[in-house]
Amino acid sequence: MAVFGGRRGDDNPALPPGQHLTASFPVLSAGPTPSIDTEDWEFFIQTETGQTHRWNWDKFLALPSEDITVDIHCVTSWSKFGTRWRGVSLDTLFSEVETGFDFVMAHSYGGYTTNLPRQELLDGKAWIAYEYGGSELDPEHGGPARLLVPHLYFWKSAKWVRGLVMQSEDNPGFWEEYGYNLHGDPWREERYS
């Protein structure tokens, strides 16, 4: 019988269960990488009253931004430590939004969607990121801007994000429809439904 040795380098308390470290930055997308000109880009938050808050690229960049250094965890079992981003906190974007709905559907250019509880986006836990490692965000990693919700599995951090639609129920997004967990907490290994 063959005996598995393993590498053990991954025995790290900062690594969620079932994850291993990678130094590279794998790309997982369901379709082609959309090409989005910042001239045409906009980000919106739409509430149950039908009111839509909109930011074009210039208005978005004029908002206060933050440097963010976080570990990220993909459901396919890789984790990457100390990734550096720059982005606008969702607290800032939500500051003028009035809503009684507790859930959000994130929509991306290209048609991707993912669902999140509103509270997972607030209190300094989530951003719209537009720089990675000190440079503008590559299209294949979600540029010009992506959602960054590092405390959940990374499929929740929708690439090419274009808006958030408030929803009353936690309706599933794209991967969630295909059997992935509605919530996606890596520390509780919420991979699949």
């Binding site: 005996v3 794998p26 369901a30 379709g31 059997g179």
Partner: protein
């Protein structure tokens, strides 16, 4: 869609053979496996004697009902799990499996659109499952495969894909070295290659691309430039950037 077993199942290696110098076909018998769609994947978990565990995800080369699944595993040079599965795992040894996983990058027999498959390297594995599913249900939907690989020695399942009775035609493309007498020189797939060797937009195909990130990015961009709708292209990428 086949159901998904979310718990871990135990599978034992019941047959294995080399595919290339770096890859091995491993067939596992997995009591409780619910069957899988063509293109789905599975998590494989290995446990060391001291309890240390490592998990990796692999595409499944087989499709349909039954408790046997075939994986085609490429040994990654700096891999932790793949070298063990390719070089060490012996007949009768067990591993844990969770799945099948993924419901997007799949082909189901009830689909009616023509299908173009485009593989880069070991990205061919889910397509082997799709060609097998296509044959086993006797599908009349046009399906063809463009398989880009580095050298002839890197081919997975060459005999099976080249069979005259195959219901899916495979076009071979070499990026590093070509076989003797090959009419074309080695090189990356170009827009012209894709135009000549793949189903055109007028046939309204559903196109699946699987391979390393750079390959998938380049091929999907080229297909869009040829007039394919982005939402008629499904992708699966592996490897870092």
């Amino acid at each position: 869609m086949t159901s998904q077993a979310v718990g871990w199942l135990t599978g034992s290696l019941t047959s294995a053979h080399p595919l290339t110098a770096a890859a091995r076909s491993t067939t596992l018998t997995v009591p409780g496996w619910p069957g899988n769609d063509a293109g789905q994947h599975v998590d494989v978990r290995l446990t060391a004697p001291d309890g240390y565990q490592a998990v990796r995800s692999y595409s499944i080369a087989s499709a349909g009902p039954g408790e046997e699944i075939e994986l085609a595993i490429d040994r990654l040079p700096d891999g932790e799990v793949s070298p063990f599965l390719v070089d060490d795992l012996e007949l009768g040894d067990t591993v844990e499996l969770r799945g099948p996983l993924g419901g997007w990058f799949v082909w189901r027999p009830e689909q009616t659109q023509p299908v173009q498959l485009i593989a880069g390297g070991s990205g061919v594995v889910p397509f082997v499952a799709m060609t097998r599913a296509h044959a086993s249900v006797g599908s009349t939907v046009p399906m063809q495969l463009l398989y880009s690989l580095r050298t002839p020695e890197d081919a997975f399942f060459r005999d099976e894909l080249s069979q005259p009775t195959a219901t899916v035609r495979t076009t071979w493309h070499y990026t590093g070295a070509v076989p003797p007498g090959w009419s074309r020189s080695a090189g990356r797939l170009t827009v012209e290659d894709l135009q000549r060797e793949t189903l055109p937009p007028e046939k309204a195909p559903l196109t699946y691309i699987c391979g390393p990130t750079g390959f998938v990015e380049a091929v999907s961009r080229a297909l869009i430039s040829l007039g394919h709708a982005p939402d008629a292209i499904r992708t699966e990428r592996f490897g870092g950037t």
